[in-house]
Symmetry: C2
């Protein structure tokens, strides 16, 4: 297959790559499209390692649109198309301090204006609904003082939010893509972007600065070896985009940091089981995803395994891993990180986690756009860059795939049609005419 | 000296570091300020390797303000203060194709509106004024066809533009800084940003995610060794900022590429001497800086050496060098680059360069903000980042030093006072509330 030509090569079979491939093949049925990935299957990189949550509660209206239409599509698949994505609308419960509530007042107004379905809970209600929640701290609580835990003043609850099974989602896109005639090549590593001069003179050192040049394929190693030529290369490899872009002097505008997830078993602890099956927030009788007022510590219930998955934000002081190696320290979680960073905050607000130790832990790369935390889609010189999703690959994946397709077919000034007949101008997510507000609700 | 405390440490004694140190010391006379640099003197990094040109002809009004006030300050120093900066107002002559003239019409109107002094020349005038200029190409000119050289349709001439001597400029800032009591430490390498928790508990692994943390100094090696504590660290090390910022997971928003300069002797070639001393553009009777319509190829006259310095833009296909090594391939120019990339375009428009070969050549790092090509000044967590000047360190250096000082004294929401009593809000150059238009005139 290597040495062959394709119309489009998609680098990366994570959620962004597979969603892009699906929408591209659907709308360009005659085009020969190849998806390649260094792992042995789709979604084996950071998609499969993610928390796989979704929400439409963003402060940026663009993020609201991208996520809301994507979630609607997933709901449509599960409810109307009998595609079991393991989707559970458990909701997001953002516990906030006085200061946070005040700072977010205008954002909440914005969400209400944009018909993002939210509910607000006061402290008393939360104490009544959420078993074991410690919403306030006594004067003598030394630990809360050291941790500077603010009391919980209230909460914003996002209704159209929840979790899904990332494997099932990506298998849906993969199988549909293959069913329409698309080609996948796993265990295949893209090692170099090929660039050629528009009108090559076949001289060593091309392209020269006075030549127009464009990407015209990728060099690969592994199950496939050699040069694969293509009219368009979709770069959807997350943090790995940098590995191909940097040597060509193209800025992928993505930084990546290690993020860790810790699973806490609930089964043998009645107080944790009780918390897991908190009633009153959703029809499933499950605790929502809970975000604490400190350091972005958050946890979600995993019903099928009777466990919680816990994590936190991790900003300054964690190094960037911009061009990750294959054998990756970034994929190894650290028990000491849980002990020192996550657990103190977790048990501060929920004392039933006092003796909770992780049963399993893993890590992945959180790749993000450090300027505004919104994704980008940029068609340029034979490339279409998609990324910078900032942990939102799954929850914005369908919209981004449609935008990539629109960028391919009609260019940066076109309007993509998102699920539910919502038009969206491609150039809003570009670099040159970028038109988005910085996202303020980042975890 | 290491182990001591300073109020401010400035990392990098290039133009941005020295200008910042000067304005900081001037406005904070009691503060103990240290400038450190890995090289043996000020301006020995990329400042000293630059083309040392200045212009106020930018499309972004912010760039206009930053450069125009900076140039005015330098002119004030040289004319009123008897500081010989080697400043020569030779002007910038942008030769443009029909397409370029049309595309820049609105930018030229913007400059006129903002009182940037420009003159326009038509093709006939240029042919009369500029010796040897080939402004048009015959149907049978195969070389022009291969190179896709557009004919010169006209020109925009920037009056308040020219060259200066970067060593003299930086010596001015350095000597004044030392004269006011400032300290410099050369041959001293900043190897690590020190970060501490606000209220440290002296536990291994701090700062934890639940602690507030800030930069509180730098670890150094070389002439000084050890930890230098400071209330504020100004990062002004150009591409080397990344070396300290990346391990801390802070985005310096700078990418760097190798750029090369080639000096062409004119002395023994009457046609080149004739071009060097082109009359009619400035009071010095010198050719202005000339920018050709292709690939940003440009050259300037260096009167004192009877030579031209030639260079070009170099975008896609040149790798980023984001965290440069000390022994630096990026500092070695390539004769073949001149031969294949620069020379063909140069001799296409100016045939008198037909046999011109570089006598000397060198390279440096062009560090730039790939999003909008404007500089930034960002106070954050004990740091003040300054950079992203995109090749404009010298021509915006004074303004940026004043903005760094204002950021230090009064924070991101303050207004700096640029030379000539021009107020400028610090946050315009920040990340969160960045308020600048993307620069279109980049070379």
């Amino acid at each position: 297959m290597a040495g062959k030509e394709f119309d489009i090569v998609v680098v990366g079979a994570g959620i962004l790559g597979m969603s892009s491939a699906y929408h591209l093949q659907k709308n360009n049925p005659k085009k020969r499209i190849l998806v390649l990935d260094r792992f042995s299957g789709a979604g084996q990189g950071n998609t499969g390692r993610s928390n796989a949550m979704f929400r439409n509660t963003f402060t940026s209206t663009d993020n609201q649109t991208l996520s809301d239409t994507t979630i609607s599509f997933y709901l449509h698949l599960q409810v109307n198309q009998n595609q079991d994505l393991g989707l559970e609308q458990i909701g997001y419960l953002w516990l906030m301090s006085d200061r946070q509530l005040a700072a977010n007042e205008r954002h909440v107004e914005g969400m209400v204006r944009n018909k993002i379905e939210i509910r607000e809970y006061g402290r008393g209600e939360l104490e009544r609904l959420v078993p074991g929640l410690r919403a306030d701290f006594g004067e003598s609580d030394e630990e809360a003082k050291i941790l500077k835990l603010d009391r919980v003043a209230g909460s914003i609850f996002g209704v159209k939010c929840g979790r899904l099974d990332p494997d099932r989602l990506i298998v849906f896109y993969r199988d549909r893509f293959i069913g329409m005639g698309g080609t996948v090549a796993f265990n295949t590593d893209a090692v170099k972007l090929m660039i050629e001069a528009h009108e090559s003179l076949d001289i060593e050192g091309e392209p020269f600065v006075w030549q127009e040049a464009r990407v015209n394929g990728v060099e690969v190693r592994g199950a496939l070896e050699g040069e694969i030529r293509a009219d368009a290369v979709v770069m959807a490899a997350g943090a790995w985009n940098n590995e191909l872009l940097e040597p060509r002097g193209m800025d992928g505008h993505v930084k990546a940091k290690k993020r860790q997830l810790f699973s806490i078993p609930a089964r043998n602890d009645p107080s944790l089981v009780n918390l897991l099956y908190t009633k009153g927030f959703n029809e499933l009788g499950l605790l929502p995803m809970v975000i604490l007022p400190k350091a972005g510590v958050h946890f979600k219930p995993v019903r099928i395994a009777d466990e919680f998955w816990v994590a936190c934000e991790d900003e300054v002081n964690r190094p960037f891993i911009n061009v990750p190696d294959h054998d990756l320290d970034a994929y190894t979680a650290e028990a000491s990180f849980y002990d020192r960073n996550v657990h103190p905050v977790l048990k501060g607000y929920f004392p039933q986690f006092r003796n909770a130790r992780p049963k399993r832990m893993w890590a992945g790369l959180y790749s993000y756009n450090t300027l505004d935390y919104l994704p980008f889609v940029v068609p340029r010189d034979g490339l279409i860059l998609v990324g910078g999703d900032s942990g939102s690959g799954i929850m914005k994946g369908d919209a981004l795939g449609r935008i990539v397709d629109s960028a391919y077919r009609e260019g940066e000034e076109s309007e993509a049609m998102l699920y539910g007949e919502v038009p969206y101008r491609v150039s809003k997510l570009g670099f040159e005419n970028r038109d988005v507000e910085r996202e303020e609700w980042v975890i």
